[in-house]
Amino acid sequence: MNDLDALESQSLHILREAFSRIEKVALLWSIGKDSNVVLWLVRKAFFGHVPFPVVHVDTGCKMPEMIAFRDRFAAEWKLPLIVGQNKAALEAGMGPHQGRVACCEALKTDGLKAVVAEHGFKGIIAGIRRDEEGTRAKERIFSPRGVQAEWNVRDQPPEFWDQYKTDVPPGGSIRIHPILDWTELDVWRYIQRENIPQVGLYFAKDGKRFRSLGCTPCTAPIESPAASVAEIIEELSGTRVSERSGRAQDRESEDAFERLRANGYM
């Protein structure tokens, strides 16, 4: 087994554990490369099937290419897709002009909470990774959330020997992180190996590409000539610039991201 085999095997084990142990699970699909990889791993874990709903929280300002990608593959792969949206906040005019953190909380966090409440999901599978950001580095693979989806970061349960916390106290839920131990480079190498389709925005046009995808107003492209998966891998192998450098909401204050996550952000 090489390093990608080992990561894949761990992820399959986690996904099957979530499906076997938690009553109602759903996959959170942001259409970005990481959740696309998780979706692929789900199909691998269940031999071509997707045995639980795939949830997309639509903020109403996602890039059009992402929505087109979602609709194409939801049909092609026959995905049990659920699209959630915080319509009340959108109608009330929520947007980054009201503060980027407030906007993320309303459109993403609250949007997710509403879908979870409506369908009664006990487990939410999310494609976050330790190397993205410091608080994610400290995450658990099975990470409990309270009644308000809050993350008690100062008192996380022990997690060792692959014995995961799969029992949910009443009202709470569990976030499941199958690619927590992967890096950005691992994700692209796996995309290359498995030939996993990705949104075109990741590939350079006119010397710019997106390294991380989000909402149109808060996500900026980076200077890059990398126009193929191979070129992205080449670029990342040498880079010393952090992945979320194009994501504006992280930099509102030193602990902006931690506070977002503690309140239920992915």
Binding site: N2, D3, V153, P157, P169, R240
Partner: protein, 626 residues
């Protein structure tokens, strides 16, 4: 890039500089994104506090505010040759569960000790827990050498103190490295400040460590995670914890003891279906028979099965606020099995401060104890020493993991060893090339031909070698003289012609076994050189002649079957060494001199030869897909 990662946990007493060490290591090895140090420096300035390397790791606001690590973190380190994951664990006693979370995931550990303070309470506790978690690769980092004036005398003092403590718990440090994380001395390169130190820098010391040892070479343990019903198929999914399995293998599921063969190894988006899989792989298989299988069952091969037990003796560390008391009940989870467990006895509680053991009626949070657990059902388990993956468990309190333990004994009064249901472990597919069999087995096949006088030790050595090779998951079989003569060669006597025919038949059979990919060990006197050479000639490259050497006087003295005594009395005609010749080998691949040597010594020498000669060469391992 494709090598497996090495995961290293950094442990030690609070404030001895673990996070500083990791932060500085990230910087020195160029593993940080550009601008990260500057960002943290600016943020520190804004908050009016002095910059610390630990701020790079302590990502939580509460951690930066209090200057301590609360939860463990994992970061990739760019080290030459392979990728290293560094796990920074908290040293504060309050966060022991987080330290365990980090340490249990590591292949190796760095125990950080402050050169000024020396060994403190959490140094001992962490050291003890490393031992309990089965960690054998440990470096001691004597940190803050700048604060003791780079003094060799102080370093020697602290080293002796640490070594003495570690010895007491049965742990040996591979290296003891003096360094200063704050200054960045002796981390990636040897430090000018300590010319007296001729040991390696920390990164050099870490390079000598290896990822998890060969679980694939141990007996098969395949805990069932789930049985998926998809497209009319019933797919048994799970991760192979140790050993290997392949299509056609007969698997026995414990604790039911039901057996069935592997019909297929399922896959998706694969070029070709896999025919074999090994430890670490998450697989889905279908069986050729509709036996009842469910989550919690463990599949093994017929031989080398786990223990079916209803009671366990264990070393346990306790993390819950609620103490563990005699008579209390918890959910026990071992691999994928889950069962109620009652604490039948607390045999002793270990004081990690002075390692003394005391009798107690309860185990408090963060304490370590030896306990006896009685189970409300039967599960398949091993001792930790036999199989680390099936020899460890957690106890769950309500929704949370409350403690963890390693199994020290399974063969208690209520436990019984599983009974092999079949010894037919050698499926044959004639279209498969020999190399494919080798790749599946993880080793080459061939004939180890032991020759020597009666009572020289051939059978004893062969049987013990077979036992040990089987335990390592090798495909091995012994053809023994006495056994073959009772069956296949029952029509033959001991005349030179009959002896020649005896050896010819055995030689053919041995080579057939070798062609099936098996390591076959034969134990026959085979006294005539010409007979042995004929066997060699069948397939010279697969024939290894091993002379088990002991002179006639010594063999006659041992004489376990009383044959020499009878031969000397003339009761057995043509007895080799007495009334028939023995021709010593001239071209043996190996000579094992048994006179004055123990059986263990001879077996070890033979196993060493087999390991070297039967290892797959570059390229031969390919084809073990999953």
């Amino acid at each position: 890039m494709t090598q497996s990662q090495l995961r290293i946990v950094i442990v030690g007493h609070v404030d001895h500089g673990k996070s500083t060490l990791v932060g500085r290591l990230l910087h020195e090895t160029g593993s940080l994104p550009d601008g990260r140090v500057e960002t943290i420096r600016a943020a520190s300035e804004k908050r009016g506090v002095a910059f610390e390397w630990a701020f790079l790791l302590d990502a939580l606001q509460a951690e930066r505010d209090q200057g301590i690590t609360i939860d463990s973190t994992r970061i990739r380190l760019k080290t030459p040759g392979r990728e290293t994951v560094v796990i920074d664990a908290p040293g504060h006693k309050e966060f022991l569960k987080n330290m365990i979370t980090g340490a249990a995931a590591a292949d190796a550990a760095v125990l950080v000790v402050d050169a000024v303070e020396g060994v403190r309470e959490q140094t001992r506790r962490h050291g003890y827990l490393l031992h309990l978690l089965g960690m054998t690769q440990v470096v001691v980092a004597v940190n803050k050498m700048d604060a003791v004036g780079w003094s060799q005398a102080r370093f020697d003092e602290v080293s002796a103190e640490v070594a003495g403590f570690l010895k007491g718990i049965g742990l040996t440090a591979t290296h003891v490295v003096p360094l200063s994380a704050y200054v960045g001395a002796n981390l990636t390169a040897r430090a000018d400040q300590m010319p007296w130190n001729d040991g390696p820098a920390l990164v050099e010391a870490l390079a000598s460590f290896h990822p998890q040892p060969g679980l694939a070479d141990m007996p098969l343990r395949f805990p069932v995670q789930d049985v998926l019903k998809l497209d009319e198929r019933r797919i048994v999914v799970g991760r192979i914890e140790s050993g290997r399995l392949r299509v056609g293998d007969e698997l026995v599921f414990w604790p039911s003891g039901k057996a069935a063969r592997v019909a297929t190894i399922e896959g998706w988006n694969q070029a070709a279906p896999a025919i074999g899989a090994a430890a670490g792989q998450s697989v889905g298989i279908t069986l050729d028979d509709h036996i009842f299988v469910e989550r919690g069952h463990v599949a093994s091969h017929g031989l080398a099965s786990p223990c079916e037990c209803t009671a366990l003796r264990a070393n346990l560390f306790w993390l819950s606020r609620e103490p563990l008391t005699v008579g209390s009940r918890w959910r026990l989870r071992l691999a994928t099995a889950e069962v109620w467990a009652e604490v039948a006895a607390i045999e002793k509680v270990v004081d990690v401060e002075d390692l003394s053991a005391a009798n107690a009626t309860q185990v408090e949070r963060n304490a370590v104890a030896e306990v006896l657990l009685r189970l409300r059902g039967t599960i398949a388990a091993d001792t930790f020493a036999d199989n680390p993956r099936l020899g460890r468990f957690v106890l769950v309190d309500g929704h949370d993991v409350a403690g963890g333990g390693i199994v020290t004994a399974t063969d208690l009064e209520t436990g019984r060893q599983g009974v092999p249901k079949s010894t037919n472990l050698f499926p044959v597919g004639h279209r498969a090339p020999l190399e494919a069999r080798w790749a599946l087995n993880g080793h080459r096949g061939g004939v180890i031909w032991l020759t020597g006088l009666s009572a020289s030790g051939k059978s004893t050595i062969a049987m013990e070698a077979e036992h040990q090779l089987l335990r390592k998951g090798r495909q091995v079989y012994v053809l023994d003289g006495d056994n073959i003569r009772q069956g296949l060669n029952a029509d033959l006597g001991f005349s030179p012609d009959d002896r020649a025919e005896n050896i010819r038949r055995v030689g053919e059979v041995a080579h057939l076994f070798a062609q099936a990919g098996i390591i076959v060990i034969t134990a026959f006197i085979s006294p005539y050189r010409a007979d042995r050479d004929r066997v060699r000639a069948i397939r010279p490259g697969n024939f290894h002649e091993v002379y088990i050497k002991a002179d006639v006087e010594e063999c006659a003295r041992r004489d376990p079957k009383g044959l020499y005594a009878r031969a000397l009395r003339g009761e057995i005609p043509e007895f080799t060494g007495v009334s028939a010749p023995y021709e010593e080998p001239e071209t043996a691949e190996m000579v094992i001199e048994t006179l004055g040597r123990s059986v263990e010594h001879s077996v070890a020498a033979l196993l060493d030869y087999i390991d070297r000669s039967f290892v797959l060469k570059a390229g031969e391992a390919a084809g073990v897909g999953g």
